[in-house]
């Protein structure tokens, strides 16, 4: 393929957007381009959500030694359409004691907030709806709004399971928001910018065939690991799915939702997972960059969605593997383990920067600073884990009501 064709393929959606917008009078062109971008987000990500539900059910089925959905369409891949029709035609039940307005608004606020988060996510070269200076801050600010909608859902249902689920969810999301933000800060600190596009740009370029992704540095790896754990908790995914622990709380904060409102919660949860995975990719995995220099001919958007697909598979794999935590384990983990490590990681990232200036750019200097930073982080990880484990009183568990 010649370079021109590669660029065209890379920018195909951008070119398409310009062509369609060009059909309108000049006054409306920015508006039309914006609407096309929004339509793209609204069409693509729920589409991925539909595929993810099949993938998750089939994947979990495999892990649990069963088949999963296989009746609707080839290999059960039309299952989401059947599910969508089902949830659209189901009766929408609102409890008589529920607070009707808040009960109605909760899923709307959730889905709107989560869709807004996609506005600043770069999904390819020049493919970002809103290229603002403080993009990462925007994402975290909008993510904080989702907590409020979960509280609204739980409180307005007037159901103790809903309220307990909502309280758990909010407490968990607030606790893990701290390490989530702090672990993202290292990438922002090293780039010197809050704009997602600039962060991706800073990770482009190659040494030999290997890319300059932040995950390949000690602080980047630690930050990425902390970010993934906090992201799992933030999106209420297993093993942090206590807010909807079905063995204890029916379905948590959306127990009293049925029909399409329930589907909206479901959609919100998966879209939230995908957007946070997208930001993890942007911050640490080079965004839409290719993993090897000789693979750069593949379009940037293909790389982004490929990485997103891998992230989704990873989340499904974890859900099939790990058991649910207990409430006290959850809180201890956030405040006693994640928080100190993410604070330490900030210090390590800063010293990485100054060690680089001090040791120079030679190969030995690079190796020394890599090993030094990795050693500090590894030592802290091992020591902290040991101390926390020793404090735990591990004994046979007594079951109060089962004996």
């Amino acid at each position: 393929m010649n370079p021109g064709m590669i660029t065209n393929l890379d920018q195909i959606f951008v070119i398409l957007q310009h062509r369609v917008a060009g059909l309108f009078p000049p006054l409306f062109q920015p508006l039309v381009a914006m609407i096309l971008g929004v339509l793209g987000i609204i069409a693509v990500f729920p589409g991925i959500f539909a595929l993810t539900t099949v993938l998750e059910r089939k994947g979990l089925g495999r892990m649990q030694n069963r088949l999963g959905p296989n009746r609707v369409g080839p290999f059960g891949f039309l299952q989401p359409i059947a599910d969508a029709i089902k949830s659209l035609t189901k009766e929408d039940i609102v409890p008589r004691t529920a607070d009707e307005i808040v009960h109605f608004l909760a899923p709307v606020v959730l889905v709107v907030a989560i869709f807004l988060g996609y506005a600043v996510l770069p999904v390819g070269r020049n493919m970002v709806l809103l290229n603002i200076d403080a993009g990462i801050l925007f994402f975290f600010a909008i993510g904080a709004t989702a907590e409020l909608s979960i509280f609204m859902a739980g409180w307005s249902s007037r159901n103790k399971y809903s309220l307990l689920g909502a309280m758990r969810a909010v407490a968990q999301m607030i606790s893990y928001e701290v390490p989530l933000l702090l672990s993202a800060v290292v990438a922002i600190m090293m780039t010197g910018s809050l704009a997602p596009t600039v962060i991706v740009q800073a990770q482009s370029g190659f040494t030999g065939i290997l890319p300059h992704w932040y995950v390949f540095t000690p602080w980047g790896f630690a930050g990425f690991a902390l970010f993934v754990v906090a992201a799992l908790a933030e999106t209420n995914r297993s093993p942090f799915d206590l807010p909807e622990g079905e063995s204890e709380l029916v379905a948590g904060y959306f127990t009293e939702y049925s029909g399409f409102k329930f589907a909206l919660f479901f959609l919100g949860e998966y879209l939230g997972m995908m957007s946070i995975a997208g930001y993890g990719i942007t911050l640490f995995l080079g965004g839409w960059g290719a993993p090897f220099s000789f693979l750069e001919f593949i379009p940037s958007w293909a790389w982004f969605f490929g990485k997103l697909f891998l992230a989704i598979c990873f989340f499904i794999w974890l859900r099939g593997t790990l058991p649910r935590l207990r409430q006290d384990q959850l809180m201890n983990f956030a405040w006693k383990f994640m928080l100190p490590l993410s604070l330490l990681n900030l210090g390590v990232a800063a010293s990485w920067r100054f060690l680089g200036e001090w040791l120079g750019t030679g190969l030995t200097g690079e190796i020394v600073r890599w090993l030094a930073c990795a050693a500090v982080l590894l030592l802290a990880y091992v020591l902290l884990a040991r101390v926390l484990l020793r404090r735990q009183k591990i004994s046979p568990r007594s079951y109060r009501y089962a004996d």
């Binding site: 607070d99 801050l137 600010a141 907590e147 309280m167 607030i174």
Partner: protein
């Protein structure tokens, strides 16, 4: 419609939303509804900041006020059993009269100050403040206030942990 007209219309819409939220927060009888209306006000303020081009302030407003303060308020309401609707009672108190007088006086002072202050003549385009320059100002010229606030918050955090710590076995008896 010219862009200025659209801007004016949007400003009016956001202003009405902000004021309605504030009024509802003061007048509704259900405390959780009040807290949620207050959130609408916070959001309206954030959008106003954003429409003025103050990205950092607007987004921090959302992050801090909606993400933390609103949640704190609803948690406090739930934990103090104030979540149910209050009965429709008119609370008779001699404080009402004083309250009205104070409200009218304060309103007059504010309106007077507003009317007397001259509108700043806009000179040229609004300066675009990048987030980077805010960061540099915080780490440079304003580093001392920043550190003092940080110490204050740390003290508050430690205080909260001490309050929440389980009391000693001997003390509880």
């Amino acid at each position: 419609m010219s862009p200025a007209m659209i801007e004016g219309f949007l400003f009016g819409l956001i202003a009405v939303m902000t004021l309605a939220g504030a009024l509802a927060a003061a007048l509704l009888r259900n405390l959780v509804h009040c807290a949620l209306s207050l959130t609408v006000t916070f959001a309206g303020l954030a959008v106003l900041y954003l429409s003025l081009g103050a990205q950092f302030v607007g987004l921090s407003q959302i992050l801090v006020y909606i993400g933390a303060v609103a949640i704190l308020v609803v948690f406090a309401i739930l934990l103090t059993h104030g979540a149910g609707a209050l009965p429709h009672l008119f609370v008779a108190s001699s404080g009402w009269r004083t309250g009205w007088v104070a409200a009218v006086v304060v309103a007059f002072v504010f309106i007077g100050a507003l009317l007397r202050s001259p509108l700043p003549q806009s000179s040229g385009p609004v300066p675009q403040i990048a987030v980077r320059s805010i960061g540099q100002a915080l780490m440079g010229a304003y580093v001392l206030p920043l550190e003092i606030v940080a110490i204050l918050l740390t003290v508050a955090l430690i205080g909260a942990v001490i309050v929440a710590m389980p009391t000693e076995q001997g003390e509880s008896k």
